[in-house]
């Protein structure tokens, strides 16, 4: 198991070159800043004590101007390389995340909320940016720039350096504080806020239901109460949490104030309120002013750390979700890769196949059956009996826990999965149209197919007629943003996919279950055409589908309990007959 922090740190090598450059540039900028302060102190000193005119100090001033320009350029370059550091990580992480999801497969996806996963791929990855582009460089610079300033100040005036040294160690303490309690609190608040938002969304989504029960107005008070409770508890936490940052603020501003006052007192030759043992060093105005200019810069990186910490928090929260995905175990790679000959007849045999999605609750428990070449099989049974599991096994989304699936006497697990799948056509209950044109969608399994081939496939899928009526025909964009097609139309486009593929085995997963009878008839006609000359496994619960099958397999409790033609099964007083009675009123068709 990977921890969120580890995931973020593991990506550092990808970012390190640009990160190092960014930090180096940032440090360079800091060194130039010290030089700038020194030049400025010279100018002020000259004008205070030498009654200098503009002409006297103009060489300093022009030098300062050059320095400003260089520093602006370096700041820009440092920012750019920080961005690049994050860019590499984002591209690589996103690709890995999505490929991991693909490898985990549809069986894993079924247990996930697809919207949340899409969110992880898009915004989740974006959220890690701040960690590399802001937090990591800021962390290094927080250590380096104050150190550089300290090295310059120490030989000039050890008293100021001492003040800096005394106040600075409080920063790490503050960091540790954040690292433990405050961070947890912050993350808790973050989650509470997200939960409150989710509740609000939930209520809006269910508003019709609330309204039906006259509960919708009541809910306004619930929203008010939840929000107010959140405010009260949040403020209780924040009153304490903000104290830690206030302490940091106090030490940095008091540090500046002390340095200023002590420099001023010594310049006026006043006694300092410190023990005589520590004889304060003499100081010149130019040194004093130089140190005064450096003091805020000494504390600035430390003060800004809080802002970057926010980025880190978001990145870790995002990484938490990414890790949850990336930690899913992937199915082991196939043992050996065999392939079927091109004209293999596809004789399918399930030998005592068992599978369970969770331990102790088998979805298939020793299923045994065969599908001969060209046979049309209907698989029927109550929900939860294992129908969909059979399809998932055949499609290679999951693998048998025990038993074997043999394809022409070769074990399915040993076959090259792509070679196997290209012999299949599959029509799920709710097929998906992808973003793109209708033609693109039909071409899904055969990207190089010509438009004529696409048309022919649509023709056979009973889809050509409605596609031709669309204003843009095959070029009509579909998908979430495209024109709305009806459920039956989507089914027929998906069927065209299957026709284009010219597969040997057609798997239908309750393909017509969610259609109204008129659309169902059209789809059914297309399905019947598709099945001609091919093997077919149809998961069905409508009698009209079942009756045309060569053979009906009745599945219950993960086993095949009956097998035969409709008439043969009806004649026998078995589970099939009982099911048919349930389906039809008054035994009209039984």
């Amino acid at each position: 198991m990977t921890a969120p922090r580890t995931l973020l740190d593991d990506q550092k090598p990808l970012a390190s070159r640009w990160l190092r450059l960014s930090v180096a540039l940032g440090l360079g900028n800091g060194v130039l800043l010290i030089l700038q302060a020194w030049l400025l102190a010279q100018v002020i000193d000259a004008m205070v004590f030498s009654k200098a005119t503009l002409a006297d100090v103009s060489h300093w001033l022009w030098l300062l101007l050059d320095l400003f320009a260089i520093r602006a350029a370096i700041a820009w370059a440092s920012e750019q390389s920080a961005f690049r550091a994050a860019a590499q990580v984002k591209i690589s992480l996103r690709d890995r995340l999505y490929r991991h999801i693909q490898a985990a497969g549809p069986a894993w996806m079924a247990g996930q909320r697809s919207g949340a996963i899409a969110e992880d791929i898009t915004r989740g990855i974006e959220a890690v940016e701040a960690y590399y582009s802001r937090y990591l460089p800021a962390m290094s610079l927080t250590a380096l720039i104050p150190l550089a300033i300290l090295i310059v100040v120490l030989p000039l005036d050890w008293l100021s350096a001492l003040i800096m040294l005394v106040t600075a160690p409080l920063i790490p303490i503050f960091m540790i504080l954040i690292g433990s309690g405050v961070e947890r609190l912050n993350q808790q608040l973050w989650k509470d806020l997200a939960r409150m938002g989710a509740h609000f969304l939930d209520v809006i989504q269910g508003m019709t239901t609330l309204k039906l029960f006259n509960a919708s107005r009541r809910e306004a008070e619930v929203i008010a109460r939840i929000s107010d409770d959140y405010r009260a508890s949040t403020m209780r936490v924040l009153r304490v949490a903000f104290l830690t940052s206030a302490v940091l603020e106090l030490f940095s501003t008091l540090g500046i104030a002390l340095i200023a006052v002590f420099i001023g007192f010594r310049l006026y030759r006043l006694e300092l309120p410190i023990p005589d043992l520590l004889a304060p060093p003499e100081i010149s105005f130019v040194t004093g002013f130089f140190i005064l200019l450096l003091a805020p810069e000494f504390y600035a990186p430390l003060r800004n750390l809080g802002t970057h910490y926010h980025g880190r928090m978001e990145a870790i929260a995002a990484a938490e979700r990414l890790v949850a995905v990336m930690n899913t175990e992937l199915p082991p790679p196939p043992r050996q890769v065999a392939s079927l000959s091109a004209d293999s007849p596809l004789h399918i045999r399930f030998e005592d196949v068992s599978f369970s999605y969770e331990p102790g609750r088998p979805a298939l428990a020793g299923a045994r059956f065969e599908i001969g070449p060209g046979e049309r099989i209907a698989l029927v049974g109550p929900s939860g009996a294992g129908k969909t599991t059979v399809a998932s096994l055949l499609l290679g989304f999951i693998r048998p826990e025990s038993g074997r699936i043999l394809i022409d006497d070769q074990e399915l697990q040993a076959l090259a999965i792509d070679d196997w799948r290209c012999r299949l056509a599959w029509l799920p209950q709710q097929p998906r149209l992808f973003q793109g044109t209708i033609a693109d969608n039909i071409r899904l399994g055969l990207p190089d197919a010509s438009l004529d081939e696409v048309r022919a496939a649509a023709e056979r899928a009973q889809a050509a007629e409605f596609i031709d009526r669309l204003p843009r025909g095959y070029e009509t964009p579909v998908g979430e943003r495209g024109a709305g097609l009806s459920g039956g139309q989507i089914q027929r486009v998906a069927l065209a996919r299957a026709f284009l593929r010219d597969a040997r085995l057609v798997i239908l997963d309750e393909a017509t279950a969610s259609l109204d009878p008129a659309s169902e008839a059209l789809v059914q006609r297309a399905v019947d055409q598709l099945a001609e000359g091919r093997s077919m496994l149809a998961i069905a619960h409508r009698l009209s589908t079942v009756r045309n099958a060569d053979r009906i397999l009745v599945i219950d409790g993960g086993r095949i309990v009956e097998s035969g033609t409709h008439d043969a099964l009806i004649a026998r007083d078995g589970p099939y007959r009982r099911m048919v009675r349930l389906l039809e009123p008054g035994g009209q068709h039984a």
Partner: protein
């Protein structure tokens, strides 16, 4: 910016907190600028006095330095505390405000907002409004007030220096952010488009993963996603380069101001109009003042997105409810019979063209227009009537079923009965009283609906049941669940009725969710029952068991049932066959089996 004014009016209850937060933020900023300015003056003046051996009052400036250091610390603490308090109060208020305005619009006017995508956008919009105060109002107000104060303070010494400072503050606070915005516009647009495409590709690639794998297109899809990801990052890099220029220029502006102060100030020393400590002070002062304008680029960015968000939310809030509430008292119906005469209805064009049933939802929205999917393809001028002269007499206790293909107007009829929409012509009477005279709540307290879309809230089973009857004791809940045949299942759960369901809770199967809906309807105990394909999408065995529960629910109630299931239809008193908004066949199940359309709709005519 009328949105801004309207928002300010909305914030009325929290203005005290908001002004307080602004005041403390201003004090904090001024304290820091004072700290830097006084320190510079103090060090220089002490050096000058020390060198010349003149006495000077050093107590006051030293005390001011310490005072402003503490003032800044305390200010920062209270600033954060007060602005958070104000934001959280306003957040609570805004949600309730929005909810109260949204509630009368559901579900008719919200049909176009039913996709989860749009709901997420509503949520993001409200979050954007939450940011308005801390990220926009406070920084802008502080920057304006503080800049004016800085200008006046500097003008006390020299007007030219003051004008220089003000100009540079405006450049850093307004001109450069505007420049950055202008530079970032084109890449910004491309980024938004690429993000949308990436999101869509991710959704396709996760929801459609099975198909991608089976059709061997998974690898291509991953490459396409990676390609988009790279394009997005490249565009972001361009954006960062351009906006980075504006950012670097901001830092440069502060330095140039300091430089200009010296360039203009040094000659003033010669003619004695400015003392050296004063110039030293003004130099450091000018550098520190840029803290006031530093948050402005972010504020402008936020302002734009906030105003867009506000515009969208106001547009929703300003929508007229589809059905006006009557003003008179609720009529007293003599019984629970329904009488429908010459009912006609068509959806307004805005709804039709938005295509409520796109390919993303195979069923056309919850309880919304069943004709949506095909309507989306038609032009507005051809909008057909969804209901075209329906007559139906439903005396108390009678059970009538409605059968029809998709788009025949079945669900629309329910929406009219629930007064979610108002009919175009014709009348509906409840117990002899016209439906439009019933306030929505009075009407819906007499009607219970069970549909295939049961929203289970992200809450416990108990809370989900209590929606129907907030004061029902546990015994009553259990009784209802027993009748709905779900009690045994709930009792077996480790947490029983306290089991969390919904998005983040235990996933219930379709049949179980439907049973909870039935239990809710039982708890509701309304005399009229509307059932919208209550067993749709369930397998035969589950369906059969569920029908038993539905049967018990129907006992003693006036029932209107939409279904295709022969099992249920056989038990109804009368069946209406609907086609394109008209009743084309009516009679009992047995009689209609010989009619031309009815058996086809049931899928029975496909038989050999």
């Amino acid at each position: 910016m009328p949105e801004l004014i309207r928002l300010w009016r909305l914030f009325q209850p929290y203005r005290g907190w908001m002004l307080g937060g602004f005041a403390v933020a201003l004090v904090t900023l001024l304290a820091n600028v004072t700290l830097m300015a006084i320190s510079a003056w103090f060090v220089t003046a002490m050096a000058v006095a020390g060198a010349a051996g003149v006495a000077m009052n050093y107590f006051t400036p030293a005390a001011m330095i310490r005072g402003s250091a503490i003032g800044r610390t305390a200010g920062r603490y209270f600033e954060r505390l007060i602005t958070h308090e104000a934001t959280l109060r306003q957040l609570a208020g805004l949600r309730v405000w929005f909810y109260r305005h949204l509630e009368p619009l559901a579900p008719a006017r919200l049909m176009e907002y039913h996709s989860a995508d749009l709901l997420t956008r509503i949520r993001a919009d409200i979050d954007a409004l939450d940011n308005l105060y801390v990220r926009v109002l406070v920084p802008v107000l502080v920057a304006i007030t503080a800049s004016l104060a800085f200008f006046i303070f500097t003008a006390l010494y020299d007007l030219r220096l003051a004008l220089l400072l003000l100009d540079m503050l405006i450049i850093a606070g307004v001109v450069l952010p505007a420049l950055g915005h202008w530079l970032g516009k084109a890449p910004g647009r491309r980024i938004v488009a690429l993000q949308a495409e990436l999101r869509q590709t991710s959704i396709d690639g996760t929801q459609g993963l099975s198909e991608l794998l089976v059709y061997g297109a998974a690898d291509d899809h991953a490459r396409h996603l990676d390609h988009l990801s790279q394009a997005l990052v490249a565009e972001q890099a361009r954006m960062s380069q351009l906006t980075g220029i504006a950012q670097a220029a901001t830092g440069l502006t502060a330095n140039l101001t300091l430089w200009g102060m010296l360039w203009l100030g040094i000659p003033l020393l010669q003619d004695g109009s400015l003392a050296p400590p004063q110039l030293a002070m003004l130099a450091l002062f000018s550098l520190a003042t840029f803290e006031a304008v530093a948050p402005l680029p972010m504020a402008f960015q936020q302002l734009e997105s906030t105003l867009t968000a506000a515009r969208r939310l106001f547009a929703i809030v300003d929508t007229e409810p589809a059905v006006p509430e009557p003003t008179g008292p609720a009529p007293q119906p003599k019984d629970s019979g329904l009488s429908i005469e010459g009912l006609r209805f068509r959806y307004p064009s805005t709804v039709a063209s938005s295509g409520s049933g796109g390919s993303d939802s195979p069923d056309p929205g919850r309880g919304s227009g069943s004709g949506g999917s095909s309507l989306g393809m038609r032009s507005d001028t051809q909008r057909p009537a969804i209901l075209d002269g329906i007559d139906l007499e439903l005396p108390p206790g009678r059970r009538v079923a409605i059968v029809g293909a998709t788009g025949s107007g079945k669900t629309t009829l329910f929406n009219l009965l629930l007064r979610f929409w108002a009919p175009e012509a014709g009348s509906i009477r409840l117990g002899g009283e016209p439906l439009e005279q019933f306030p929505g709540e009075a009407l819906r307290s007499r009607i219970a609906l069970v549909s295939q879309h049961t929203h289970l809230f992200d809450a416990s089973i108990r809370e989900n049941l209590l929606i129907a009857a907030p004061d029902a004791p546990q015994g009553l809940l259990e009784q209802a669940c027993a009748t709905a045949q779900i009690h045994d299942f709930i009792a077996e759960l480790p947490e029983g009725y306290d089991t969390w369901v919904g998005e983040t809770g235990v996933r219930l199967s379709g049949g179980q969710a439907r049973r909870i809906a039935i239990a809710r309807a039982l708890l509701r105990d309304a005399p009229i029952l509307l059932l919208d394909e209550p067993t749709e999408g369930l397998d035969a065995v589950t369906e059969r068991a569920l029908m038993d529960a539905v049967q018990r629910l129907m006992a003693g109630r006036t029932v209107l049932l939409i279904t295709h299931k022969p099992v249920a239809l056989a038990q109804m008193d009368e069946i209406l066959v609907l086609d394109r908004g008209r009743v084309v066949e009516r009679g009992t199940h047995a009689a209609l089996l010989k009619a031309p359309i009815y058996p086809r709709l049931l899928g029975l005519a496909l038989d050999v």
